[in-house]
């Protein structure tokens, strides 16, 4: 698995992060639950050992920030006091990442289609100009692949053989006002990235063994794209695979039910 964690430990970490994530959202009464929940295994995998000290992670799908905050907190990169300010007046942790706010988040995002160009610039710099072995990972949403700037950067990454760049797509199949298949069809999605010159893998974005196999070792002369098939709202039954939970905050009853479902998952894990 990753350098430091086994699958069971990763699953426990993801569960703890989900729990913290729901807690944050309930107390802040904030939305974007579905798009955070779909990314938690991906973020857990990256931060549990794949990302080294010299590597960088760019959350291009900025609306997943709260999941990133919860993950950074779990892995000791955000303090309890910092995380407690999430979504509150005076915070450095707004709903989408802020610029120059915290060390662990080098780039503010929130408007879609910005992350991959920045990540490609960093990867090019590390590979050719700074000549370090630093890697850059960039997490996109599938809806974000509507943006032309994403594909501009894909051309650049491929043209310059940025094999230190790993693109992950949180492909939960739902975007702001509908299903991606109904709004702007991306399929055949893997072939699109392949045609742009990427080494492409597809996997379940909730299965650590599959994520591990899909991310694999650094690409050989080509940037990588991992299309992680995910479920929006993953882990909370009534949030799964709906547009609604892109937006709603939880009521007290919904929060209690969500936590009860996580308790159930936890007891299944320890069996």
């Amino acid at each position: 698995m990753t350098d430091c964690m086994e699958p069971a430990a990763l699953a426990r970490a993801a569960l703890a992060i989900r729990r913290k994530f729901l807690d944050m959202h309930y107390h802040a009464r904030s939305g974007h639950l579905g798009s955070g929940l779909s990314a938690i295994e991906i973020l857990t995998y990256l931060y549990s050992g794949w990302l080294r000290e010299t590597d960088e992670f760019i959350l291009s799908k900025g609306h997943g920030a709260s999941a990133l905050y919860a993950t950074l907190h779990h892995f000791g990169k955000l303090s309890d006091a910092e995380l407690a300010t999430y979504y509150q007046d005076g915070t450095l942790l707004p709903a989408h990442p802020a610029p120059r706010a915290i060390r662990a988040i080098p780039v503010a995002t929130g408007s879609l289609g910005h992350g991959l160009p920045i990540a490609a610039g960093m990867a090019h710099s590390y590979k050719y100009l700074r000549q370090t072995d630093a890697r850059v990972a960039c997490l996109l949403s599938d809806g974000e692949c509507n943006e032309g700037s994403t594909w501009e950067a894909a051309l650049f990454a491929s043209h310059h053989s940025l094999d230190n760049l790993t693109v992950l797509v949180d492909a939960n199949g739902i975007q702001g006002f509908g299903r991606t298949n109904d709004v702007l069809r991306l399929e055949p999605f893997a072939q699109k990235w392949q045609a742009f010159g990427f080494h492409v893998s597809e996997c379940s974005g909730h299965d650590f063994a599959q994520l591990h196999a899909a991310i694999g070792p650094p690409g050989n002369g080509r940037p990588r794209c991992i299309i992680a098939r995910t479920v929006k709202g993953r882990g909370v039954s009534f949030m799964e695979d709906t547009v609604d939970w892109h937006y709603w905050p939880m009521s007290a009853a919904q929060y209690d039910q969500a936590i009860a479902e996580l308790d159930q998952s936890e007891s299944e894990l320890s069996r």
Partner: protein
């Protein structure tokens, strides 16, 4: 100005290993030497301005100091959000260079004109704007940009009324130039201020249209934010004449004239000559457009004479 820019930026980049140059697929017959000198530090980012600005931000985050070049409207409007979010909000040392300010591209048509670039950029946080008055100011502007650890924009342009003239003085930081002084400071006078290359209209008027016989101070400004605390000569002139003509090859709304009027003490007589298109607009050379917009040396002299009652 482009040749002067290439020479200046080459000397900066050759001496700065952290510098690199990104072009939006432009530079034919201009950047070949620069590309050869810089090697891997010269990158043709393709016809992809949004990505190019994001790339530049990425380079800057890793400690590099990128210059980004394209035609002025392309490297500003298309990628305005990238400039705002990726560069300005992060306060990154990305130097954006737009060639063809105002009507420079003439008969290439309105897609290539830049008449709002300073307006849309001046409101962005942390961004500093440079718009040289003349080719012989480009090296100084490039030198200042290179020394800034901040986002900046350099507007290169060619004036249809280009009129070489040695400036009387140039402020080392604001780059504000004095080009002519009133013959009789005791009599009613006017302060003519050109924004960047628009000052060439006044220089042409001085040389060929009799502005030199009017009691006029002529200044060129080349930098925003305007800093009149440093530009004491310009401020003193306005205080004495209480009478300003501001010229810009840019729309009036959001232009430098508006900013200058706001920066100056309240004046009863502030006139603005600016660019425009007309409802029945037709297209042609830069000079054709300037005549349509009444942005000419003749119009300037007529306005000055009216203001001074000397016509």
């Amino acid at each position: 100005m482009r040749a002067d820019f290439v020479a200046a930026v080459e000397s900066v980049l050759v001496g700065d290993p952290r510098g690199l140059f990104l072009s939006g697929d432009l530079g034919f017959n201009a950047f070949e030497g620069l590309a050869a000198r810089l090697g891997s530090r010269f990158i043709n980012a393709g016809v992809a301005e949004q990505s190019m600005i994001g790339l530049a931000a990425g380079f800057a985050i890793t400690g590099m100091r990128p210059w980004v070049y394209s035609i002025a409207p392309f490297v500003t409007y298309r990628c305005l959000e990238q400039i705002r979010n990726d560069v300005c909000l992060h306060h990154l040392p990305v130097r954006i260079v737009g060639n063809g300010g105002g009507y420079s591209y003439g008969v290439m048509g309105p897609s290539h004109h830049a008449l709002e670039d300073l307006a849309v950029l001046k409101v962005l946080p942390n961004l500093q704007l440079f718009f040289p008055c003349a080719s012989d100011q480009v090296a100084a502007a490039v030198g200042l940009l290179a020394g800034l650890d901040a986002p900046c924009y350099l507007r290169l342009a060619v004036s249809a009324y280009d009129t070489p003239r040695v400036a009387l003085s140039e402020h080392p930081r604001t780059l504000t130039r004095s080009y002519a002084l009133r013959a009789d400071p005791g009599k009613p006078g006017v302060t003519v201020i050109g924004a960047g290359h628009a000052v060439q209209i006044a220089l042409r008027a001085l040389r060929e249209h009799g502005l030199d016989r009017e009691n006029a101070d002529v200044f060129g400004i080349a930098r925003f934010p305007i800093d009149l605390a440093q530009d004491s000569g310009l401020l003193a002139s306005v205080r004495e004449t209480q009478n300003v003509v501001f010229i810009e090859e840019h729309y009036a709304a959001g232009g430098m004239g508006e900013s200058m009027k706001f920066a100056l003490p309240p004046l009863s007589d502030f006139s603005l000559m600016s660019a425009s298109y007309h409802p029945e607009q037709r297209y042609g050379s830069a000079q054709f457009h300037m005549k349509q917009a009444e942005l000419t040396p003749e119009a300037l002299v007529a306005l000055v004479r009216t203001k001074l009652g000397s016509s």
